[in-house]
């Protein structure tokens, strides 16, 4: 096995021993099924806890399964991305601060192999957790509302995965710049929030922004097709992920010292 493979396996074993492989999918699943369940019980909840005068009749239109799933994704847009950032932020900084990085790099591991193994291992874990939780949400939606077409589920899953990868790559990149995980999380979340904000403030000029993956995925679910700017967004997200990744590798190469 080459160094990339060794480091990749080490990341997965580490996540298993840290129980990250347990809490990450569990937290994501809870987050995902919250939407269909709470929407389903909304009338009862309003009735019991709404403090409405007796006799008030509430009529909430029953959402379609597609709308419920779109709602699930928008839940992910806030909390899910925070989980992504928090789970990735320390992966480089911790090894750097403890000094174990110097024992790795003295064995002539290239920065590309090191960052690449981190990226790949985190991507596998995050995307697998996300896919599992999303499919669970689809299952509940099918039980409580109606079955959503598989093509729409898979297409929205794919597009949204790109946004998760983007957030993860940003965090990994910030991880090569800073040594404190608080700062890494702060910078990453600020950048992601700024991008989302700009996209909603200047939709005309921000068609390329990867943050549009959220609205594109929702549109795909409810309408069956994304808007016209979807290809532009897909290409720019892929390019940005690659650019940030190689910038992180370049930044890592410029380290004066690994401890």
């Amino acid at each position: 096995m080459n160094s990339f493979g060794t480091l990749f396996v080490k990341e997965l074993v580490e996540a298993w021993r840290d129980k990250k492989l347990v809490w990450l999918p569990v937290v994501m699943c809870i987050l995902a099924i919250l939407q269909p369940i709470s929407l389903y019980y909304m009338p009862q909840i309003m009735n019991k806890a709404g403090n409405l005068p007796p006799g008030t009749e509430i009529k909430i239109p029953v959402p379609t399964g597609e709308e419920v799933l779109a709602g699930t994704l928008s839940q992910f847009g806030v909390l899910g991305i925070a989980i992504v950032v928090l789970s990735v932020m320390g992966s480089i900084a911790a090894e750097r601060n403890s000094g174990v990085l110097s024992l790795i790099m003295v064995r002539r591991v290239s920065p590309l192999q090191y960052i690449g193994s981190k990226w790949a291992a985190q991507a596998v874990m995050l995307l697998a957790s996300f896919a599992a939780s999303y499919l669970l949400a689809c299952y509940y939606t099918a039980l409580l509302f109606n079955q959503v077409a598989w093509t729409r589920i898979l297409a929205s899953l794919g597009i949204y995965s790109l946004w998760i990868l983007f957030a993860m790559t940003i965090t990994l990149g910030a991880g090569t710049l800073l040594r404190k995980s608080g700062g890494i999380a702060g910078i990453s979340l600020a950048f992601i929030a700024a991008l989302s904000l700009c996209s909603s403030l200047f939709p005309r000029f921000m068609k390329w922004s990867p943050s549009n993956a959220q609205s594109q995925a929702a549109k795909l679910l409810t309408e069956g097709a994304g808007s016209a700017s979807l290809p532009v967004m897909l290409v720019s997200a892929a390019v940005l992920i690659a650019v940030i990744f190689f910038a992180a590798v370049a930044c890592f190469k410029r380290y004066e010292t690994y401890s």
Partner: protein, 295 residues
């Protein structure tokens, strides 16, 4: 020469840590870097290990292959993954060094045995003491049979018995490898190393074989002890540059020239004295260190 260092310099924004260091390291020699704290020892070792880029200067390995895989490095405070066991870490390190799988299993057991961690091989590193981490650090540095071992303060963090163990290991290792290590325990350096590099403020003040270092600081001092009293008699010899009486019949004498030693002995015998001891006093490494560093 196994490796040559030329005008090696490392400077940060406002200070220079290593300043124009030039060294040559012979194969199968054990070289000790000595010097006060802040002399640039760790920085030099990190540059030799390829972990730190020099600001200027050159580190040339005579054998290009050697540069790739044949360095074993032990940092001053080795740190590992807390969740791994000692055995797992060695396997991980060995794979990163591209050791063949078949060889790796045997080799890591052998190393665990060598450093005395056989019983702790299956335990999590998170529960290791400082001494055990130091031993594991040595094991991972030796794992891939490097030609050059770079050890940063290998004994400073150890208890007396651990220190003895590691020194014994180093004595055994230096038969087939080049070892470069830093220390500020002079006694340990004297026991193990062949060559000495004394550093201060990023410069090498002295470098060369330990014997030559001591010889160059040999200053014609002798110890003479006799049955009779030396008081009075010794002061009348005009070739004695200075002397001090340790007891009436025991004197430490510094001579003006080395030829005078026989003259002193001859006159002792002529005066009918019984010589109990006559010996050239060789300086300890500590004496030389003080003189060179100026501490």
């Amino acid at each position: 020469m196994l490796l040559e260092v030329e005008q090696l310099t490392k400077s940060y924004k406002n200070h220079t840590v290593v300043n124009g260091l030039t060294l040559g390291i012979e194969p199968n020699h054990c070289v000790a870097l000595l010097g006060p704290n802040g002399a640039g020892k760790t920085t030099t070792l990190q540059m030799l290990a390829g972990l730190l880029k020099p600001t200027s200067g050159r580190i040339a390995f005579m054998d290009q292959l050697m540069e790739q895989h044949s360095i074993g490095y032990l940092p001053q405070y080795p740190s590992f993954f807390r969740w791994m066991t000692a055995r797992e870490f060695l396997q991980f390190a060995g794979r990163l060094s591209r050791m063949p799988r078949s060889e790796l299993a045997d080799k890591s057991e052998e190393m665990l045995h060598f450093v005395g961690l056989k019983d702790a091989a299956g335990k999590r590193i998170g529960g290791f003491s400082g001494g055990m981490k130091q031993r594991l650090g040595l094991a991972q540095a030796l794992l891939h049979d490097p030609k050059l071992l770079i050890l940063d303060e290998p004994v400073s963090a150890l208890d007396p018995s651990g220190r003895l163990d590691v020194l014994e290991m180093m004595k055994e290792l230096k038969r087939s490898r080049t070892i470069v290590y830093s220390t500020h325990v002079l006694h340990d350096a004297e026991q193990v190393c062949d060559d000495i590099v004394m550093m201060k403020e990023g410069r090498a003040l002295w470098s060369g074989p330990l014997d030559a270092l001591k010889e160059s600081h040999q200053d014609e001092t002798f110890i003479l002890s006799t049955s009779e009293s030396l008081e009075g008699w010794i002061g009348t010899r005009d070739y004695v540059a200075s002397f001090s009486l340790l007891s009436p019949s025991n004197a430490e004498i510094r001579l003006a020239h080395s030829d005078d030693r026989n003259r002193l002995l001859a006159e002792c015998i002529d005066s009918g004295m019984t010589i109990k001891r006559f010996e050239e006093k060789s300086p300890s490494l500590e004496d030389v260190y003080r003189e060179v560093i100026g501490a």
